[in-house]
């Protein structure tokens, strides 16, 4: 590829360097927070890939988070292999899960799809909590016996989160420069026009869905690996998708920077209100709701949408 193609990815180098050095400066609490933020960026970005580019609004992405986490915990328990080596398999599980439910769900559109996948997530959550081999509703603990260096576990979890955060953003940047990405952008902007120039819209959607499912599963697996404990109510919590939806819609759907900004606002508000000012947890969520209401009225394309000139904004809405 030409240099110009790689230039927008230059930001990844200092970021990777900072991630490498970060464990020297950050204490355990800050490292956990940073991991949470980076994994949230990855998840929100994957939701954005499906909703913003594929045009499929999902209210059931907690399905993939849960599937990834359970794949990791179950495989670790069965095989006794170190969790690090099992992580690629969790993203395979997520992708497979997406590919399996796609033929059924893709017959549905808009609200039907959103609710359909939500119900699938509920069904899987209920089935998992009834399966005693998966710990039932009491949950599972991660089998760590295969880890050689338990001391490094915290750092490794952090680095994995950094890698996922960086790869999700850079990967989406690269994807959007490829032929497939251009097709996705075309589908985002005008589905009928995209069809008319010969883009197979369903195929583009399927690819977006499988990537989104696989990466979300991986992010979920890394998140719960750090916690070492897993219950169905947390893994399949609808608040996962609430966060992805909030971050993407507030920041700006169908753009790469949007979800990043949204996630930073989500965690920024939480840290300022709940941690620094010591206001009870509910109020930060109330503030979040209020932000969503205000943004919907004054910046309907999200905060990044405000950058567009007025004429482009009118055309977009």
């Amino acid at each position: 590829m030409k240099t110009s193609t790689w230039f927008p990815l230059a930001w990844t180098l200092p970021c990777a360097l900072a991630a490498w050095l970060a464990p020297h400066w950050l204490d355990a609490g800050l490292m956990r927070l940073a991991s949470e933020v980076l994994l949230a960026i990855c998840m929100a970005q994957m939701w954005n890939l499906l909703a913003g580019y594929g045009g499929l609004m999902s209210l059931g992405h907690q399905l993939f988070i849960g599937v990834g986490a359970y794949a990791l915990f179950d495989l670790a328990q069965r095989t006794g292999v170190s969790p690090y080596w099992l992580l690629p398999l969790t993203s395979l599980a997520g992708a497979l899960c997406a590919a399996l439910i796609a033929p059924a769900l893709f017959r549905l559109r808009d609200a039907y799809f959103a609710i359909g996948i939500w119900v699938v997530a509920e069904v899987v959550a209920l089935l998992v909590s009834k399966t005693s081999a998966l710990g039932g509703s009491a949950g599972l603990t991660l089998d760590m016996s295969a880890l050689e260096d338990i001391e490094l576990f915290g750092q490794m979890s952090f680095w994995l989160a950094c890698a996922l955060g960086i790869v999700s953003v850079a990967g989406l940047q690269l994807l959007m420069r490829s032929r497939l990405g251009l097709a996705m952008t075309a589908v985002r902007d005008n589905e009928v026009a995209a069809r008319s120039v010969g883009i197979d819209v369903q195929r583009v959607r399927l690819i977006a869905f499988v990537i989104s499912g696989g990466m979300s599963a991986l992010a979920g697996a890394v998140y719960f690996m750090g916690g070492m404990f897993l219950v169905p109510s947390a893994a399949f919590d609808v608040n996962w998708v609430v966060m992805m939806l909030f971050a993407t819609l507030i920041g700006g759907i169908g753009s790469i920077g949007g979800p990043v900004i949204g996630v930073l606002i989500w965690f920024g508000l939480r840290e300022v209100l709940a941690t620094s000012l010591g206001i009870s947890g509910g109020w930060y969520l109330i503030a979040m709701g209020a932000v969503a209401v205000v943004v919907s009225l004054y910046a309907p394309r999200g905060l990044l949408g405000l950058r567009l000139p007025a004429s482009a904004r009118r055309a977009a809405s």
Partner: protein, 288 residues
């Protein structure tokens, strides 16, 4: 005999489910808005009723449904007039979605802060525990009344929409919001009335629900899922479809719990998915 009693109780539960879906179907049918705050409306109704019953203990519990419904109408009307109309007018499908999503987060956590997170119920008194004999099976009087109320509401709403001036205005606005303007109708006003009705139905249903089960501010999400399933099984925008959807889901849930006591709503969800696969447009819509 036991199975018949499960069937009857399922139908009775379905009446309540149908009521959950009614407001959602109305708002979607007229404004094309997917109201993500519908579950919070339901819980709000339960809390409004809870406080009213506490303050005016001399008034019979069933009579409190009237003020709850009126509060619901006012709440929905105001919400539409102040916020939602601006979002609907933008013409962007995402805007109302973000707005109602924000409202649901706001209302849910607002209720947690104001009322606390512990579960509450409204004590329905003697009526709540009364039972009667139906085909040799003992069923609660209260659930029967609830189903009858749901059927009556559906029938009257259908009648109002088909045969009155108001109904014609609403249907015309749903089809051509810009054209009705030429006939001297303000679509915004119609939207306010429709949202008022939807919130009234939701809050009324929430009040009735609170007399059957314990509720917390977090109960809204689950009810909203039920409401969506009802509406989608029925076919978006179809009222008779919604009542059929409610009854089918109610029966499926109770039969599921009979076969498998800790299944929760698993079988209702599975039935919903199967229905969607067979008829992606719902029972009232065309075949795929």
């Amino acid at each position: 005999m036991d199975w018949l009693s499960t069937l009857i109780n399922g139908l009775l539960l379905g009446g309540l489910y149908a009521l959950f879906g009614l407001g959602l179907a109305l708002v979607f049918g007229v404004m094309r808005v997917v109201n993500l705050a519908h579950g919070e409306f339901i819980v709000l109704g339960a809390y409004a009723g809870f406080f009213l019953v506490g303050w005016f203990s001399t008034v019979p519990v069933w009579a409190m449904l009237i003020p709850v419904v009126l509060i619901g109408y006012g709440f929905g009307w105001l919400l539409q007039a102040t916020l939602l109309n601006r979002a609907v007018r933008s013409g962007n499908v995402l805007t109302p979605l973000v707005l109602t999503f924000g409202l649901s987060v706001l209302l849910r956590n607002g209720m947690v802060e104001l009322f606390g997170a512990d579960s509450r119920a409204v004590d329905a008194g003697a009526l709540g525990s009364a039972s009667m004999d139906l085909l040799g099976i003992s069923v609660g009087v209260y659930p029967v009344l609830m189903l009858l109320l749901a059927l009556a509401l559906f029938a009257s709403l259908q009648w109002v929409l088909q045969h009155t001036e108001f109904g014609r205005t609403v249907r015309a606005t749903a089809d051509f919001p810009d054209v009705v303007r030429l006939m001297g109708v303000k679509p915004e006003r119609v939207f306010c009335q429709v949202m008022g009705l939807a919130a009234a139905f939701a809050m009324g249903a929430g009040y009735l629900l609170a007399q059957r089960t314990l509720l917390t501010p977090f109960s809204g999400v689950e009810r909203m899922l039920v409401a969506f399933e009802v509406v989608i099984i029925g076919g978006l925008g179809s009222f008779w479809g919604a009542i059929a959807g409610g009854l089918v889901l109610g029966v499926a849930q109770l039969f599921g719990q009979r076969i498998d006591s800790n299944a929760g709503s698993l079988y209702a969800h599975l039935l919903f998915l199967v229905t969607l696969m067979v008829r992606p447009k719902g029972l009232a819509g065309g075949r795929a």
